[in-house]
Symmetry: C3
């Protein structure tokens, strides 16, 4: 039984961006040598999230439009009295959630046929970290 921990650093070009990180997670799993277990993937910044869904550009546009509709950019958030301007990004992170746990079976991420792991950035253009912690044999 072992734990294996790594940190990804991401810096998106756009203010909001959805980055497929499945290959990076697979690479870290390979390095760990774990055959049977789980891996936690968790965004360490409170204006970013992690989710698992389809890798299809139309859907990614739909997700972005939907998040903006339900948790819109708005100058009037109380949070902005601190000098911040990213109240919407905190709410979008809550909506999409900030972490997933991916099962590992036979040395592979045990994902469904269309499941891909995404990093969702809601206040980008600067360095942010994601923690990955795998456990298993």
């Amino acid at each position: 039984m072992q734990f294996h921990t790594e940190y990804l650093t991401l810096r998106t070009k756009k203010h909001r961006e959805y980055v497929n990180i499945t290959l990076q997670v697979e690479e870290i799993l390979r390095k760990s040598g774990i055959q049977e277990g789980m891996i936690l993937v968790s965004a360490m910044h409170i204006t970013a999230g992690i989710y698992i869904n389809d890798w299809e550009n139309g859907l990614i546009k739909d997700i972005d439009t939907w998040l903006e509709k339900l948790a819109p950019e708005n100058p009037d958030y109380h949070h902005h009295n601190t000098g911040e301007d990213n109240g919407d990004a905190h709410l979008k992170r809550i909506l999409i959630n900030h972490q997933v746990t991916v099962p590992i079976t036979d040395g592979k991420l045990d994902l469904g046929p269309w499941e891909q792991i995404f990093y969702a950035e809601f206040d980008g253009q600067r360095k942010k970290r994601v923690i990955l912690k795998a456990l298993g044999f």
Copy 2:
């Protein structure tokens, strides 16, 4: 320390349906023999989710109405340019989330008094899978 993995296959009669799978999860826990640990329950299809809430038919109706209000069926999703018609189901999965981790204590699911585990189907009438991976002693 051991891992125990199983897959449930569900095929709902309705397009959208909420299925209490607590008994199946308990059965798999019993088979595993684990007394102390955790079990991950995760929907492997990107138009279905897993959540823990009350087993009360009125509430289930409220949840369904609420999901449809916040993530409605709509012909205009970009995702539909691929030939799909289930854009709303992808968004509903994000809203309700696709996985839970249930603690195991003294050989039982350590749930609160009213907590029940549900499979939420948003594009049903076909076979779909849920992965369960328990770890512990």
Copy 3:
């Protein structure tokens, strides 16, 4: 490898309240002696949640306003035919989610710079429990 389980009991003064429980989680981690692992923090009542975000009072107000907008108090929920009056609280729990898994590295919660763990109460003024289960070395 060990598991360590504890239960927090919370009784908020207000009907809806957001309580920073990071110090309590750290205290339980210290008691467990685990240096490397993960800790699951999960609300056992179906009208409360757990989330990780910023500890800033303006943002907490924004989160509360936003939850009430997307999942409002409303006398007309079907769930209220059972005699309950807290339909909105069940939906708010789904929106904010009911659990987090926090990685443990070098004996500490491996959180990002602004990440704090919150208990979100949506139907308070009575005793409710949160389960914490840590695993690791």
